[in-house]
């Protein structure tokens, strides 16, 4: 009796193991990439092993920077390109002699898109790792969650979340690299009004970025001839918004304005298509993701949103510094990861490189206070999101000139008319 069950158990465990193994291998991409840069050769094998032959080896105590990213949870799709970018850039910096001779080390922590975990991650980075700066978090709500800790620890934080509360109210210690809702909203409303639309329905998820977007729309609305005729919400992980959209369909909305990062956006687009709603759908810079196009299918066609120029690099102006920087970044990213970087990868690039450039301008043994001052002194930094100039009262650094309107056409991003 016992032996029968033991045999069955062994068979099942083997089957399980085989299935897992097959599944695990099925997702790998067989790529070996080699990049050559100014005297350093970097070769990355399929299993992730990287060997770098350096020209100048950085030495001494590593400069430790922390990064809090959403590697799991609803924002995991945003966190992954951010992590990829940071890892790629750290290697690039270290293979070019580090920062004033010292190696750069970025310690990445996962906040699981949960504020409680963000706080824990921040504690670990500040108290245990004693980082000199923190990049992150991926999400607005999470960025706000550990704000008090960086202020108390007096270390600079360059956030990659897009909500306005990150830089308004302004904290001397907190900077931001995504375009804030404060510039994206008026840019989007300008476009919506220029298309003759006067009645909109707003649909937003309950997360920090989306709620801030909806609130910012209400703040700027009096400046426009646009009326909000319906307002609906959903939870970030929700999988069916048909009920909310049915309410919107019953109103006299001429367009739907959606503020949502994460996976719900594709569902909204898809549901609108299923309900045969032929009014246009507008989104935000939280929607610059391939997953939205893939998930929305036919519902994604005609979807319009504002974001930076990296998705269609020609929009920087082919003879501009921005185009050069972006093209190099795209080429490096594609060579290493097999696909182009998105806007979130761009935010991480900007956050890390602004910090690195600030560190380069300082002496090798700088203090966090000096780093903060130097980051604030960033002027005309050409990044992926745009050209950054910070000041004592502007920790966002960009303007509407760094934005363009995109439209999804034939499953790809094109500049909207």
């Amino acid at each position: 009796m016992k032996n029968r069950y033991l045999a069955l158990l062994i068979v099942l465990v083997l089957a399980f193991g085989v299935t897992l193994g097959a599944v695990g291998c099925g997702g790998d991409e067989e790529t070996t990439t080699t990049t050559e840069e100014e005297g350093a050769t970097e070769t990355t094998e399929a299993d992730g092993e990287t060997t770098t032959t350096l020209s100048e080896e950085p030495s001494g105590d590593p400069i430790k920077v922390g990064a809090i990213l959403s590697l799991t949870g609803p924002y995991a799709g945003l966190g992954e390109p951010e992590k990829n970018t940071i890892e790629m850039l750290v290697e690039r910096v270290n293979s070019n002699g580090g920062i004033n001779g010292r190696p750069l080390e970025v310690i990445i922590e996962d906040d699981a898109t949960e504020s409680a975990q963000t706080v824990a991650a921040a504690s670990k980075l500040i108290d245990r790792e004693e980082v000199v700066a923190i990049i992150g978090a991926t999400g607005t709500g999470q960025s706000m969650a550990f704000r008090e800790q960086v202020v108390a620890a007096e270390i600079p934080n360059v956030s990659i979340g897009g909500g306005t509360p990150i830089t308004n109210p302004l904290s001397p210690w907190v900077f931001q690299t995504p375009w804030s809702n404060n510039i994206v909203v008026p840019f989007t409303l300008d476009y919506v009004q220029s298309k003759g639309i006067s009645k909109v329905a707003i649909i937003a998820d309950s997360g920090g970025f989306a709620q801030d977007g909806a609130a910012t729309v209400e703040k700027f609305l009096p400046d426009y001839d646009i009326e909000v005729v319906a307002q609906e919400t959903f939870e970030p992980g929700d999988t069916d918004m048909t009920a909310q959209l049915t309410s919107i369909k019953g109103s006299d909305a001429e367009a739907v304005l959606m503020w949502s990062a994460g996976s719900g956006a594709a569902v909204v687009a898809k549901n609108m298509n299923a309900l045969e709603m032929d009014i246009p759908l507008f989104g935000s810079h939280g929607n610059a993701r391939r997953e939205l196009i893939e998930g929305a299918g036919a519902g994604g066609e005609g979807f319009r949103f504002a974001a930076g120029k990296v998705l269609v690099p020609e929009s920087y102006g082919t003879d501009s510094e921005g185009y050069k920087v972006a093209s190099q970044f795209i080429a490096d990213y594609v060579a290493r990861y097999g696909g182009p970087p998105d806007t979130f990868a761009g935010h991480a690039y900007d956050a890390l490189m602004i910090t690195v450039e600030a560190m380069r301008r300082l002496d090798a043994d700088f203090t966090p206070q000096e780093l903060r001052d130097e980051i604030e002194a960033t002027s005309g930094f050409v990044g992926i999101g745009g050209t950054f100039t910070y000041s004592a009262d502007d920790h966002n650094g960009m303007t509407v000139d760094d934005l363009v309107m995109y439209e999804v056409k034939d499953g790809a991003w094109k500049l909207a008319e």
Binding site: T19, A243, A266
Partner: protein
């Protein structure tokens, strides 16, 4: 859109979610009946159904319908393995301990899924292409019809199994009194194993049918598990038909709350409904109250 058409639209939206909740509630109920414990890994069976279908389609290049079938079979297998490794060794433990074990199992499965499939959401094409159908003035996606069809088949299949087959009789007997069933010669260990296999299949059917509408991701398990569990409690744990009705009612209540109140209260409505039932009629809406006879 006239009020009648709007109402029809809300009702169909409610029935769509309701069908998913019904399948999940069924999974909870049959496991509860067989083991006395709530299996919170039920949500992961839902996730695995969708994920493995996507994997079969993309990585193995298998046609869609076969991919769905493969996903259901693989998920059932994983459910059985889960039962053998996690539940079987502790089968005589306190139901609370078993619940905690299933919660741990759920976290393990979703973490493994994240490593195998990545963190991003993944799409599945619909079973049939084409626009929505016009029914009673409302628009219904073709995939929703497939979902209802599969739900009906699953419920019918389960009902036939329970009431018409000898094995189903054995399952019902084990649910009523496990010791007595053993004394009558029923191998309750096989009953539990088959029950988990069916629970896995039910979760996977829901996952495969719904992923074309919603995309799937490694993390979708827990929230659908909570809804399914609520539906099972609402209808009455232990009775398949009651669970199905509980699921449909929960879906409709959520959808109509968006119509009547505001979408902000959608989730709150579901929980409030559950609380009301627990306070007023704890055995569930559709179960006969148990009366102890002295």
């Amino acid at each position: 859109m006239g009020f009648d058409e709007q109402l029809a639209q809300f009702v169909f939206a409610g029935l769509k979610s309701g069908a998913i909740y019904a399948l999940m509630a069924l999974g909870f109920t049959i496991v509860y009946a067989a083991t006395g414990a709530i299996n919170f890994a039920q949500g992961e069976f839902f996730m695995l159904g969708g994920m493995l279908a996507v994997w079969s389609l993309d990585a193995l290049g298998v046609p869609l319908l076969l991919a769905g079938l493969l996903a259901i079979i693989l998920t059932s297998l994983i459910a059985v393995i889960f039962e053998e490794l996690a539940i079987r060794p502790r089968r005589d433990a306190d139901p609370l301990a078993l619940i905690i074990i299933t919660i741990g199992g759920s976290m393990l499965i979703s973490s493994l899924a994240r490593h195998a499939f990545g963190p991003n959401e993944l799409p599945l094409p619909p079973f049939t292409e084409g626009g929505s159908l016009h029914v009673l003035g409302a628009l219904v996606e073709q995939q929703a019809v497939w979902l209802w069809l599969l739900t009906a088949l699953a419920v019918a299949g389960l009902t036939i199994l329970y009431s018409r087959t000898k094995f189903g009789l054995a399952m019902r007997a084990s649910a009523v009194d496990r010791e007595a069933a053993k004394l009558m010669g029923i191998d309750t260990r096989i009953v539990v194993m088959v029950t988990f296999c069916l629970a896995g299949a039910l979760g996977a059917i829901a996952g495969v049918a719904v992923t074309p509408l919603t995309q799937t991701a490694y993390s979708v398990g827990p929230s659908i598990a909570v809804k399914g569990f609520s539906a099972a409690i609402l209808g009455g744990l232990g009775s398949p038909l009651a669970s199905v009705l509980g699921g449909l009612i929960l879906g409709l209540a959520e959808s109509l709350s968006v119509a009547a109140l505001s979408s902000e209260f959608k989730d709150a409505t579901a929980i409030l409904l559950l609380l009301a039932v627990l306070f007023l009629r704890p055995e569930g809406l559709f179960r006969r109250s148990r009366r102890e006879k002295v």
